[in-house]
């Protein structure tokens, strides 16, 4: 039992290593010097995290705006929404406060 687990773990480790090698090869990081490797990893990582953060922070708001834009008369959604109080904030209407 334990041996089988150990084997599976080894297999997984090899698989992950293999994926990492493929990632390095496909992004040309494999032939870079050490500082360039760090640079590329950071560059790619920051791009990716920016993308993830942006999709977390802005996409729901934009979706709500889009829905409001498409069905302006229907209040069903906003009433049914559990946090309709906050929906103004999410929708990015907070800028009005600064304008007035």
């Amino acid at each position: 039992m334990f041996q089988k687990l150990a084997e599976d773990y080894e297999k997984l480790k090899r698989y992950v290593k293999w994926l990492y090698v493929l990632y390095e090869l496909n992004t040309q990081i494999a032939i870079c010097e050490p500082w360039e490797k760090v640079f590329c990893h950071v560059l790619l990582g920051s791009c990716l995290s920016l993308l993830l953060y942006a999709s977390y922070a802005f996409v729901p708001g934009y979706c709500l705006t889009l829905i409001k834009l498409l069905w302006p008369a229907s209040d069903v959604l906003s009433h049914a929404h559990p946090c309709n109080i906050n929906s103004d904030v999410v929708c990015g209407n907070e800028s009005d406060a600064f304008l007035t």
Binding site: E10, R14, Y15, K17, W18, V21, L22, E24, L25, N26, T27, Q28, I29, A30, I31, C32, E33, E36, F39, C40
Partner: protein, 593 residues
């Protein structure tokens, strides 16, 4: 000849490895260098992750029927003595002629499309490398790359070219220009070198690696340090010396070269031939003597650099047609002839010439000669056929693509080729009608000003050519041609079965395997080196940016065991590095040798 004493000693010492006797390092010295050092270099960092464990290695060993390994085998020094008995299934390297030339071409030639994501990754990766290169050039310039006392001078070298070779190509520079220290036969010995500064400079470790050679244009296996060719060349060096130190027009002419020209003409079945000491110059310097500014040249887009240089020197109008595309060739020809010379007010061209190669060395494709000949006759153009790679390697008699397609060699106006590849020597030839060759003898710069071929080199050509023609009274030449055809078909089919993308015609012994990405060229070459296989990579600028590739060159000297070993290793490497791009259906049946 007193000055031959040292030379003679070198020849007399029986060194099985083909190692030069003055090669550096006595055995003691070599022992003192720790063997680990060699494998600490980037060139030897093996990239095997999935099957690297002992169990998988044992499994793969059991799976392979033969126990061939370049390190184990007693060295034959590249001599292809082990040419096997011919089985009944062997067919010569020849167009079948059952279908029309066009249909047969489409059936046998494959240029598979690149997967979309790989194309994107290749371009993005290339941009990344360029950006990193510019940052490097701005911030970190090592001492080896700076020149002293050059203030106020303009740059002597092309800026982009030197940037590219320093900051992009340097990263995988260890995969090219690798020094060898043996005859490049079916196996060769690589001199190991390491780099401590990422490719700026290299140091020899003093160790050597015996590798299976899949990188030499040794199609018929005549590159050998023993055997009849080598013996006769050595003999010739002893009684005629090494060079005439003069051009053919002056004192460099001799009976041997006349014999060589007559034999070459007979070999191709044409009236006359002329030989030169350098293959590249044969193209680059003879095209200007044949063409002038009022000529139109229709040239294949994948033609070799020597042809392009020759055409530019000639000043002729160059029109390029798509690679091996007969419809495009006809369009370009028709338009060119209809419109005439635009620079000369639309007057007719004085000459129209089509230039194609027999086997395209980077693509591994074969020219569609019957169709080109038909077009040439239709439009009354001249045809210049560069058979650098195809001579010896193609056709049932080894006479090149004319033999392969059974086209009358007299239909091709100018047959050009080199002795460097199949004949295992050096130099080039032009063959054609007596009139043409006489014209070249008086007008060619390569004939008038270049030194004549060295006697031992000419002897190598003579002996190997006679062997191929069967004039030495043995079947060796014919067996070699058969062996090459067989190896080619087997290797190409097995590669296709593995699922890697290969380009070209199934009968061409040049097999480019597409790896696309710049880093993968390096990874494949390095990994195969650690597994004792020597291959050649090719990337930008030799190929388009997109199409980095590994080029295998097959030889008649390879045996089935060697090819099986190579294929097994390539299979593992392709799995590990993700090279199996092909989306074609794979042949499930085992391939017959």
């Amino acid at each position: 000849m007193g000055n031959f004493d040292a030379f003679e000693q070198g020849f007399a010492s029986p060194n099985g490895n083909g190692r030069l006797p003055n090669g550096h390092g006595s055995p003691k010295e070599r022992l003192s260098v720790e063997p680990e050092r060699k494998f600490s270099a980037p060139a030897y960092t093996e990239i095997r992750t999935r099957r690297c464990n002992a169990k998988a290695a044992a499994e793969s060993k059991q799976a392979s029927s033969s126990s061939y390994h370049p390190e184990k085998k007693a060295h034959m020094n590249g001599h292809a003595s082990a040419t096997r008995e011919q089985g009944s299934s062997t067919k010569p390297n020849q167009a079948e002629g059952k279908l029309s030339p066009e249909k047969e071409h489409y059936q046998k030639t494959s240029f598979e499309e690149v997967p979309m994501h790989t194309a994107c990754l290749t371009y993005l990766g290339f941009y990344l490398l360029m950006i990193l290169g510019y940052i490097n050039q701005l911030l970190f310039v090592p001492k080896v790359a700076t020149e002293k006392d050059r203030e106020g001078y303009v740059a002597l070298y092309d800026a982009f070219e030197s940037f590219y070779s320093r900051y992009v190509y340097r990263r995988i520079k260890d995969c090219w220009n690798r020094p060898i220290c043996s005859v490049p036969g079916d196996e060769l010995t690589l001199k190991d070198r390491v780099t401590d500064d990422y490719g700026w400079s290299f140091k020899f470790t003093g160790t050597e690696t015996r590798c299976l050679n899949l990188g030499s244009y040794n199609y018929l296996g005549f590159a050998a340090a023993t055997g009849r060719c080598a013996d006769e060349s050595e003999e010739r060096a002893r009684d005629s010396g090494l060079a005439y130190c003069s051009s053919r027009c002056e004192l460099g002419n001799n009976a041997q070269l006349d014999e060589l020209e007559k034999l070459t003409a007979r070999y191709f079945g044409v009236e006359d031939a002329i030989v030169f000491g350098m293959g590249f110059a044969t193209n680059a310097l003879n095209l200007p003597s044949l063409l002038g500014p009022n000529c139109m040249v229709v040239s294949d887009e994948k033609n070799h650099a020597s042809i392009i240089l020759g055409l530019r020197l000639s000043g002729a109008t160059i029109k390029v047609f798509k690679h091996n595309n007969m419809r495009d060739l006809e369009r370009v020809l028709r338009d060119g002839i209809c419109q005439g010379n635009a620079k000369n007010g639309g007057k007719p061209w004085s000459k129209v010439m089509i230039i194609v190669e027999g086997i395209f060395s980077m693509e591994g494709s074969i020219v569609r000669l019957p169709e080109v000949v038909a077009l040439k006759k239709k439009y009354k153009a001249y045809l210049y056929l560069d058979e650098a790679h195809s001579v010896g390697a193609m056709g049932s008699h080894g006479r090149g693509v004319t033999d392969y397609y059974k086209v009358d060699p007299k239909d091709v106006d100018i047959l050009m080729g080199t002795f460097t590849k199949s004949f295992g020597s050096a130099g080039g030839y032009l063959a054609g009608s007596k009139k043409l060759i006489d014209f070249l003898r008086t007008n060619s710069h390569a004939h008038c000003y270049a030194g004549s071929i060295s006697p031992p080199i000419a002897q190598q050509i003579l002996t190997s050519m006679k062997t191929i023609m069967g004039e030495d009274g043995t079947e060796t030449g014919r067996n070699k041609i058969m062996q090459l055809a067989r190896n080619t078909r087997y290797f190409r089919r097995r590669l296709a079965q593995l699922g890697v993308i290969t380009y070209g015609h199934e009968d061409s012994p040049v097999v480019p395997m597409l790896v696309y990405l710049f880093s993968k060229i390096g990874a494949v070459v390095r990994t195969l080196t650690t597994r004792h296989i020597a291959v050649v990579g090719a990337g930008f600028p030799a190929t388009p940016i997109m199409e980095g590739r590994i080029r295998f060159c097959l030889s008649a000297a390879h045996t089935k065991e060697q090819l099986d070993y190579a294929l097994e290793v390539i299979d593992e490497t392709a799995d590990d590095l993700g090279l199996k791009y092909s989306r074609k259906p794979r042949d499930p049946n085992p391939i017959e040798y």
